[in-house]
Symmetry: C2
Subunit: 315 residues, 2 copies
């Protein structure tokens, strides 16, 4: 398959690995790129010098294209961008901010830029800002999420109508069938987070991956809507948040309960009780830890098999 | 196309019209059935004798199969079921209750039974109860909704894995592309609510249909989670609910704000300020009022066209 996404990033499959905090180090990124997808380092949970280390290690582990995901709210973003340029990164996915702020700077250095949005309104802003591709992420995605609560099934057709840029669907996609559904809705490729967060090569703790494998439908929930809507697993920490929200807690009270470094404590350090366990709704569908190679193989085979099965249908 | 759904209901297309309150009278139902789908009268907003009247009129307007949607929480349900049997209805969709309660009774009268669920756990209960088909409805759907907040993209594969019954996907489906996505995910057919609620033949008020045509992404929201999660348009009434919920209002306080007959006031009588305006998230994608015939034609053509376009893809 050759399309707008595979051509833009010079990859085999239009499968992007979401650059997730505490999951997306050099092992995951190089494995995804080596398997024909696009790996993205998750700079959101790295000090600038830690990012440099991961870039260097990724280059040693793969000669295929890879990129860096940068949340634009990152506190020391100038230092981070300097390292990205110094280390000659060719692909940057930005999120959580205005696509205008950094796109020209990155383009001037020859870097391809994609930006993550949760509405067609912001997709149009991406087009105006000159970004090269848009990731449209639905309500079912893990971690930080849009206020509109638009699901992937609703969002993708809206964004497809709004812009002509290459479009990557995200949120709720963990299988070849879901990837095919995304293509059907008008996407050119998919970004997969949860499935790769639960892979053998993810830097998340085993406690986190094992808990994810045991989830049922309804075991993640979007909360913290008065601060920044976030999807997480319903554990003890979530219960505190949920009780506070039910009694009408203010944003300040919620920030106090949230505290600092909760997602590191949970995802990376393995505290399943008091950590903030960010993961997508589709985690309940993934029942085992697989290698990246196995995951991409399964997705590609399922995609091709289902498309062949439905090709004969005519209404 | 012939499949489990078209065979079960003896219809041309596996397209079911959701039996929605205040929208689904004889005009809409007969139009959908005449166009090759399955129309469902929405008994939830009809007194028993009103339902009888609509059944009689539907029979006069079509000789194709049609059915009745019965929310099992209906107060005078025995009277309703008696009319369904007396009038020789052959298809009943039940929702909002235990599928065991009425399935045997209906089967004894030769009636085909489908039940609406929002999780694979309840889909299994349907299979145990002996129902003939399951409707799995995601978070993006309008009106009353599951507590798990599972989106259609996540829900359908879960339910497909859990049961072998014919499966109808619902929530967020208004186009041929979305219908194809649902089939890709393992559904045998689709239930479409919002698009038909906004059709020329729907009994909703023009004020309601016009407002739906003007919605943007994020203009509906799931609320009333302390009573029964409900998706509605953000109008003045929604704002009262939202402010009450933000300050931690109890279920009793919310019930007082809700009062009685709010959805009739809004959807049927056209009070866009103080009515409860139940509609699905995908309303923002539908920009004009069309006839049922036009809607089904568009869906069928888009489904066939997109499937043809993607058939050549191989990863």
């Amino acid at each position: 398959m050759e399309n707008k996404i595979t051509s833009l990033f010079k990859i085999k499959y239009p499968i992007i690995q979401g650059g997730m905090v505490w999951c997306s180090g050099w092992r995951l990124v190089s494995a995804v790129s080596n398997a024909g997808g696009l790996g993205l380092l998750g700079a959101g949970s790295m000090y600038p010098e830690v990012l440099r280390e991961h870039i260097i290690k990724t280059k040693q582990a793969t000669d295929k294209p890879f990129g860096v995901n940068v949340p634009l709210l990152y506190p020391d973003i100038d230092a981070l961008m300097k390292i990205i340029v110094d280390e000659e990164i060719k692909i940057v996915f930005t999120s959580a901010g205005n696509p205008k702020t950094w796109t020209n700077f990155l383009h001037d250095k020859g870097i391809t830029v994609a930006h993550v949005v949760s509405s067609s309104k912001f997709a149009k802003k991406c087009e105006d800002a000159g970004v090269d591709a848009v990731v449209a992420e639905g309500f079912e995605a893990g971690g930080h999420n849009g206020r509109e609560e638009t699901t992937t099934l609703t969002l993708i057709p809206h964004v497809r109508n709004a812009i002509s840029l290459p479009l990557i669907a995200a949120g709720g996609i963990a299988t070849g069938n879901a990837m095919l559904a995304a293509i059907t809705l008008g996407a050119d490729g998919v970004q997969i987070g949860t499935r790769f967060a639960m892979s053998a090569e993810s830097s998340a703790s085993n406690e986190f991956k094992n808990l994810c494998c045991s989830l049922n439908e309804g075991d993640t929930m979007l909360c913290l809507k008065k601060i920044s809507p976030t999807r997480m697993i319903k554990n003890n920490f979530y219960n505190l948040i949920e009780q506070a929200e039910a009694r009408g807690a203010t944003a300040d009270e919620l920030k106090e309960i949230l505290g600092r470094a909760r997602s590191k404590k949970g995802i990376f350090e393995g505290d399943m009780t008091d950590g903030e366990l960010e993961i997508g709704q589709i985690a309940s569908f993934v029942k085992k830890i697989s290698t990246v190679h196995e995951i991409i193989d399964e997705i590609v085979n399922e995609f091709n098999g289902t498309l062949k099965n439905i090709s004969g249908i005519k209404l």
